[in-house]
């Protein structure tokens, strides 16, 4: 794949300290490990990338060399940040039609959580919540969509997940949410469990218009 301009510049700095092949390996492995896209830097990406590169450099360079190299990288990324502001919001809509789409949705959600800086526990919790919402769509409505929306308010990043379908609605919603009802497939637990794991939970369901669930989790 073609390198982004930023990637080339980082590689040039690394190449002053490392052989070209090592520089390229370190860069590509650290980018992969940090889950960052250099073409679209998001909130906190700059810091994450620097930390990740620092780890990688520690294996190949003496402390002083690594420090010099990190200083150069830091000033490069700082200058870059002031020129093009990081993309603050990200939006992704995933059609849910089959069981395979559930796996796609929770994978995408997990990746977005990672990018936003959620702890690994919260990544698992949110991915599980997305899995529950997507499964309800497949199981009860047949098809619908999951929309992942990463943004921030007053500098606090959050992930919002919207699950929408035009299925038959949930007839016994109140008893499900109160925990009195658990379906054979375990659905009751899925919905109440999802509610327990998020900061905001909103559900609307009617036989005419289907079901809409919106959940939001803030990065603490």
């Amino acid at each position: 794949m073609l390198m982004s301009p930023l990637e080339t510049e980082i590689k040039n700095i690394l190449s002053k300290y490392l052989s070209p092949i090592v520089a390229e390996t370190v860069l590509s492995s650290r980018i992969a490990a940090s889950g960052i896209s250099l073409r679209r830097l998001r909130i906190g990406d700059r810091q994450r990338l620097l930390l990740s590169l620092q780890k990688g450099l520690g294996r190949y360079l003496k402390p002083q060399q690594a420090k010099d190299c990190m200083n150069q990288l830091e000033s490069l990324l700082n200058s870059r940040n002031s020129v093009s502001a990081p993309a603050a919001t990200e939006h992704q809509k995933i059609s849910i039609r089959s069981e395979g789409d559930i796996v796609v949705a929770r994978g995408a959600g997990r990746q977005m959580c990672k990018t936003l800086g959620f702890t690994s526990l919260l990544q698992v919790k949110l991915a599980t919540a997305i899995s529950e919402l997507a499964r309800n769509i497949v199981q009860y409505a047949g098809e619908g969509s999951i929309t992942l929306h990463a943004s921030h308010e007053n500098g606090r990043p959050y992930l919002q997940v919207t699950a929408e379908d035009h299925g038959p609605g949930i007839p016994n919603l109140d008893s499900i949410l109160s925990g009195r009802y658990v379906s054979k497939s375990g659905m009751g637990k899925g919905l109440t469990g999802t509610r327990n794991m998020v900061d905001e939970f909103d559900i609307r369901s009617s036989p005419n218009s289907g079901t809409l669930v919106v959940i939001r989790k803030w990065v603490k």
Binding site: R135, G186, G193, N196
Partner: protein, 142 residues
């Protein structure tokens, strides 16, 4: 992601060991349920270990399915032990209210093997070791 259509089941000294190292799809879970019950019946397994060390996410459907497998196996006379549950997955399951109270658990596969009291059961085993040892001893004597 690894695409798998079946999860292998290993027969070991009268027990079955299943290690799940792929992302579990619903089809895979259904196939696994069928394969395990079939294997318990055919092989007369006394124990079943389900190793979950490769699982990084379990939702209500998957956890319910694994619990079902354990309960079915119990009905067929095989004890089930679940091992290798990821700490983050465990915390998530508890928060969702999806604990598996009726299933025995172990931290690692080794612990699960101990819990089932698994032992080598080949009849000729002792004789075979004696034969090997005799060979070693005669060589050191030279």
């Amino acid at each position: 992601m690894t695409i798998a259509t079946r999860i292998p089941i290993i027969r070991l000294y009268g027990n079955l060991i299943v290690s799940i190292q792929v992302s579990l799809s619903d089809d895979l879970v259904v196939a696994l349920k069928e394969d395990i019950t079939q294997n318990i019946g055919d092989y007369g397994a006394r124990g079943l270990i389900i190793d979950l060390s490769g699982i990084d996410l379990m939702d209500s459907y998957i956890s319910r399915s694994i619990r079902d497998i354990a309960l079915i196996s119990k009905l067929m006379g095989a004890q089930t032990v679940i091992s290798g549950m990821d700490p983050l997955v465990a915390m998530t399951l508890v928060e969702m209210g999806l604990e598996m109270n009726d299933v025995r658990t172990a931290l690692t596969l080794e612990d699960a093997i101990d819990l089932l009291g698994m032992e080598r059961v080949e009849a000729d085993d002792a004789a075979f070791s004696e034969f090997i040892l005799a060979g070693v001893n005669s060589r050191t004597a030279d």
